[in-house]
């Protein structure tokens, strides 16, 4: 995989911890998917302008500019999130397999005890990051008993992570 979401050399990439590399790969995949969607969207619109006899108009270039600006905006968010995640200390999760359990029907995220602790951590973290207000986010998380059981020792890691936003 080519990493171009951030400036990073192959050597620097090799130096990353597993969790960091996973974060990088995930972000890069999301960027690649966004780029693919952009290209598809532009191609569809180009066909539309041809059908509408508007190929000699500013419509395509205007649309391309707007769609590319939106793409760049989304990539910037991904990049910023990635850089932030890379800069904080999070659990590496290497070799740790999650313990089985039950419950979690009331949680907003998927509770699957077949997942490793790291995968559980990422799922719960992503869920709570969708809550826009940091204070509300941390108070909801603090009251989340399902997460406490589901993440076990990772619960504290995530708490420390989330509290940084308040």
């Amino acid at each position: 995989m080519t990493f171009d979401i951030i400036d990073i050399t192959d050597e620097e990439a090799r130096m990353l911890e597993t969790i960091q590399l996973k974060l990088l790969r995930t972000a890069q995949q999301k960027k690649d998917a966004l780029y693919h969607s952009l290209q598809q969207e532009l191609e569809e619109y180009r066909s539309l302008t041809l059908t509408a006899e508007m190929q000699d108009s500013s419509l395509y270039s205007s649309y391309e500019r707007a769609a590319t600006a939106e793409y760049n905006y989304q990539v910037d968010i991904l990049r910023e999130q990635l850089l932030f995640n890379l800069s904080i200390k999070e659990p590496s999760g290497e070799g740790e397999v999650g313990e089985s359990g039950s419950g979690g029907d009331t949680a907003g995220y998927v509770v699957d005890y077949n997942l490793s602790y790291l995968e559980r951590y990422v799922a719960v973290r992503d869920y709570y990051m969708t809550v826009e207000d940091p204070d509300e986010r941390i108070s909801l998380y603090a009251a989340d008993e399902v997460a406490m059981r589901y993440l076990d020792s990772y619960y504290t890691y995530l708490f420390n992570y989330l509290v940084q936003f308040t």
Partner: protein, 418 residues
């Protein structure tokens, strides 16, 4: 038919012949001015009555008025314009820098904004007379206000169509803003653009383009050129009336329904006319301001009867305001009112060259009409609505109708010796 015995001896036999001089199957019209044929009747057309003296210039060619506003913009050939408010001079002699001055309007809340422009800028004209100018792109030759945007055609042959952002003072290109499109050269130069329902009609030298321009510009679409053989549209004659776009070319008057153009019963420039501008009068009449052999004249076309008539000698730059029809009359602003026409028949010999007696005429029409019958060197006058004895002897007779009103029929009854 009748045979009469007069005195002793063999009396010459005679018979009566009835001819519908007007209103029948045959057309005895020799000359018609100020009378429009409608539903088989002759209807007199109005004449100018001066209501505003001292117009600052006399060669007015076009006038534009928009319903719901008290303003009328009158233009001359040099691009000067004058604004009248409620028929009183309001703004005098503004000069436009060139090109056909286009006009459009929009409603902004309850504020009327009427805009007009030239090569470089448009002016937004508001009530109270204050104006602000906005820039225009690429020396436009025509423009229109459509679906909340300003559209203009500029560049070489006017073949680049520009649309403004929904804020009409901005031409910045963008997805939610303005934009431009190049029209293919096969249609020739652009002559006029006009809002036509949800579409924008682009009239060109050799055809028309229809642009769907409703809502977000992202969804704009252009239909391929519809080829027209009508001739080159005269910009100031283009009108949207009753679901059709009407326009004059050197070949006469045409209407376009978005798919094809129809030629109507109307004179052409080859007959000595020069068409200048036009306005709709209700949904049933098109009034064209023209010159005929150098003098100003109006031509009324009736959609219902597919008929036309000259009227308003000396009038130009006609417009409808409220229920009335107005025009420039020399250096005056005038209301077209009342009616006065002339209908002159050809000589009618009732099918024989013999001397005959025109016994009587039956006139079905307004009593305000004057009818003159001439024959054998004598002329007798009658009023509309009469059944009148005539008793003129001659080989042929002519009939002349003048005045205001509607004429349905003239029947002449003649006695011819057999």
């Amino acid at each position: 038919m009748s045979a009469q015995v007069k005195g002793a001896g063999a009396a010459p036999k005679s018979r009566e012949i009835c001819v519908d001089v007007f209103g029948g199957e045959s057309d005895y019209c020799g000359e018609r001015y100020g009378f429009l044929v409608e539903d088989g009747n002759l209807k007199s057309l109005p004449q100018p009555e001066v209501i505003q003296p001292l117009y600052p210039f006399s060669n007015a060619v076009n006038a534009v008025h928009f319903a719901g506003t008290p303003y009328v913009f009158v233009f001359d050939e040099e691009g000067n314009f004058t604004v009248y408010k409620n028929h009183v001079l309001f703004l005098n002699g503004q000069k436009l820098k060139g090109g056909y001055p286009f006009v459009f309007y929009k409603r902004d809340g309850d504020t009327h904004a009427i805009c007009f422009g030239d090569d470089e800028q448009a002016f937004i004209f508001r009530d109270a007379g204050n104006m602000r100018s906005i820039p225009l792109p690429n020396s436009p030759v025509c423009g229109a206000y459509h679906c909340g945007r300003l559209f203009v055609c500029g560049g070489e042959g006017g073949r680049t169509l520009y649309w403004s952002a929904p804020d009409i003072s901005s031409w910045e290109e963008g997805a939610e803003l303005g934009g431009s499109a190049h029209l293919k050269s096969d249609g020739g130069a652009v002559k006029s653009i006009i809002s036509y329902g949800e579409k924008l009609l682009i009239l060109r030298e050799y055809g028309a383009n229809v642009l769907s321009a409703f809502g977000n510009s992202r969804h704009f679409s252009l239909r391929p050129l519809i080829k027209l053989t009508a001739g080159v549209p005269i910009p100031a004659t283009v009108q949207n009336v009753d679901g059709r776009v009407w326009f004059c070319t050197a070949n006469g008057l045409f209407s376009f329904n978005g798919s094809f153009a129809t030629r109507h019963n109307f004179p052409s420039e080859g007959e000595g006319y020069k068409f200048k501008s036009a306005c709709a009068f209700g949904a049933e009449y098109i009034v064209v301001s023209a010159t005929y052999e150098g003098r100003n004249v109006l031509i009324m076309y009736g959609v219902k009867g597919d008929s036309y008539s000259l009227f308003g000698d000396g009038c130009s730059a006609v417009w409808q305001q409220g229920d009335g029809l107005f025009c420039m009359y020399g250096s005056h602003l005038a209301r077209l009112t009342g009616g006065s026409g002339v209908w002159q028949s050809v000589n009618c010999d009732f099918g024989t060259h013999k001397i005959k007696t025109l016994k009587r005429i039956e006139i079905c029409g307004s009593s305000t009409l004057n009818i003159e019958v001439t024959g054998g060197g004598l002329t007798k006058a009658f009023r509309g609505g009469d059944i009148a004895p005539v008793n003129l002897r001659g080989t042929s007779f002519s009939f002349r109708v003048t005045g205001e009103g509607t004429l349905k029929k003239i029947t002449a009854i003649c006695e011819v010796n057999v």
